[in-house]
């Protein structure tokens, strides 16, 4: 018996969802980005109870349910704790253009920080990436006060 694999094509309605928002960054992101723009320093914030340094800075340490306290500089060097190499195109929100593939993406624990942060790795070859490798943040020369001020993390030899 012949299998009927053809179905009648149903109507499909193309819909584009376009909504606009304005997010209040809040006092913590405000200072994080201001510091990054002005001095090129990456800042974390310390929980007074567990003393872990959280990056990005935030008002509350969720684990201790306590207000965070002292601001401390972290990085710019750090250690890769997870990595991948991306082979599909991604439209970079800050440029509106596709990012060249492949590129490396990782979780990087900055020196002095508890949290690891997501960012782009300069190295995109999976054979040259490994957990525990040392990297350093490369910053834009003309910084604007957003996450794009950190261009990527480059591999360093120590």
């Amino acid at each position: 018996m012949k299998r009927n694999t053809e179905r009648e094509e149903l109507l499909r309605i193309p819909i584009q969802m376009k909504l606009q928002y304005r997010f209040p960054a809040g006092a913590h992101y405000e200072r994080f980005f201001r510091e990054l723009k002005k001095t090129g320093k990456i800042m974390g914030i310390k929980c007074p109870e567990c003393e872990r340094v959280l990056v990005p800075p935030r008002p509350v340490c969720g684990e201790c349910f306590t207000r965070t306290g002292e601001w401390v500089e972290v990085g710019p060097k750090g250690t890769v704790v997870a990595h991948t190499s991306i082979y599909f195109p991604f439209i970079d929100g800050s440029t509106g253009k596709p990012r060249p593939i492949p590129y490396g993406a990782g979780l990087i624990q900055l020196d002095g920080a508890y949290s690891a942060i997501n960012h782009i790795l300069e190295e995109g070859d999976p054979d040259k990436l490994h957990i525990g490798m040392r990297v350093e943040a490369m910053l834009k020369e003309k910084r604007e006060g957003n996450i794009g001020d950190i261009l990527y993390f480059k591999t360093i030899e120590e």
């Binding site: 304005r22 209040p24 006092a27 913590h28 935030r58 509350v60 340490c61 969720g62």
Partner: protein
């Protein structure tokens, strides 16, 4: 039957047009801390957390992602209601009734200032048929308003008097956003938005948050000197399609309120309730909802308001806080009504206190034109 769930802590922010001076976690942490302090509990006492927020209002999926740290739910059970905050209280209450939780924190937050109201509420509708026609909460509300007003001969002035009452009472509410009194002439002369709804008939765009702490009977008695008990609760959902509903028949609200009255042993709400906090985003809705909840006969909402029965000092004050007309962080509205009801029953409602209030009704709604309805009666 003895009531099994109590409210042992509440808090609310002031409603403001734009809380852009602080981020959402900051706002929410403050209300959570206040509610927990009032309940005299710390984070270890929390068995579960229910949050209420809606992705499209927050401009992200899983809009509770930014709340986890500040509602104390790291390594605890947290669930989220993508709808009205009073609906979240129902979920919290069920967790306690099921014996899965003894103390549950319920938090609701919304910021109207992040996006564009009409654009967002346009996405509430079916994207294939209704949405391209431009339906939103306002235009849908206007259809319901006209239907109601035609059916019962209600005038625009009748609706305007809701605004007058609520704005007057909001003078006594330190959390209100709109605190300017108005006259019928001013409401009638305000900008026509969607006939017969004018700018001043509608709730403003607001930012805010609310929190309550729920406790089992056993915990409430151990922890609280003044637990406020949930005496009755009912919820009901109508069809999504406006054209499938009886727009002013309000079956969902009739069923929800009757369920709550049945549990609380109330047969004549106008006499037996001391105060009602009602979620009405437009002036006509306060009249319509009060009828459907049986405060008066159908079509008489405007009459009992005109007679002063629903004003402070009347037989059943409705929205002595000013209601949503004076502050409307959309999904927070129903939880705010509950917080106000609890304050009333505790005798802690300040200048908006209804003297001797011991039984209060709070009402919340979700979707457009009252598709989903929640009624909760609290008392001491």
């Amino acid at each position: 039957m003895n009531p099994q769930v109590a409210i042992i802590g509440t808090s609310q922010t002031k409603f403001e047009a734009d809380k852009g001076y602080e981020d959402i976690p900051e706002t929410v942490f403050k209300v959570v801390q206040q509610a927990m302090a009032e309940a005299d509990i710390d984070r270890d006492d929390l068995d579960s957390i229910v949050t209420s927020s809606v992705d499209l209002w927050d401009g992200r999926t899983a809009s509770n992602q930014m709340l986890t740290d500040v509602v104390g739910s790291i390594m605890k059970p947290e669930s989220r209601v993508a709808g009205d905050g009073l609906g979240a209280v129902f979920q919290g209450m069920l967790a306690i009734l099921a014996g899965a939780s003894e103390i549950t924190l319920v938090v609701s937050q919304c910021r109207g200032s992040l996006g564009v109201h009409n654009e967002i509420s346009n996405w509430v509708f079916d994207p294939i048929y209704q949405q391209p026609l431009g339906l939103d909460y306002l235009s849908a509300g206007a259809l319901q308003a006209n239907h109601y007003m035609n059916q019962f001969g209600i005038s625009q002035e009748d609706c305007a008097r809701v605004v007058i009452k609520n704005r007057r009472d909001a003078q006594n509410n330190p959390y209100a956003q709109v605190v300017k009194e108005a006259t019928v002439e001013e409401v009638m002369g305000s900008l026509m938005w969607a006939y017969p709804i004018k700018e001043m008939d509608a709730a403003p765009v607001s930012d805010g948050a609310c929190a309550v702490v729920l406790a089992s009977r056993h915990k409430a008695k151990a922890l609280s000197k003044e637990p406020v008990w949930i005496l009755g609760a009912g919820s009901c959902l109508d069809s999504h399609y406006l054209g499938d509903r009886d727009l002013t028949g309000g079956d969902a609200l009739i069923r929800a309120s009757n369920a709550a009255y049945g549990m609380a042993g109330i047969s004549d709400p106008l006499k037996e309730l001391d105060v009602a906090e009602v979620s009405a985003a437009f002036s006509y809705q306060e009249l319509l909802w009060t009828e459907l909840m049986g405060f008066c006969n159908r079509g008489e909402g405007a009459r009992i308001l005109k007679e002063g029965q629903t004003s402070l000092g009347g037989s059943l004050p409705v929205n002595p806080s000013g209601g949503m007309i004076v502050g409307n962080p959309v999904t927070v509205a129903g939880l705010t009504r509950l917080v106000e009801a609890v304050l009333q029953v505790r005798g802690k409602a300040g200048d908006r206190q209804v003297r001797g209030a011991s039984r209060a009704l709070s009402h919340g709604t979700t979707g457009c034109c009252g598709q989903g309805q929640y009624v909760m009666i609290v008392g001491n």
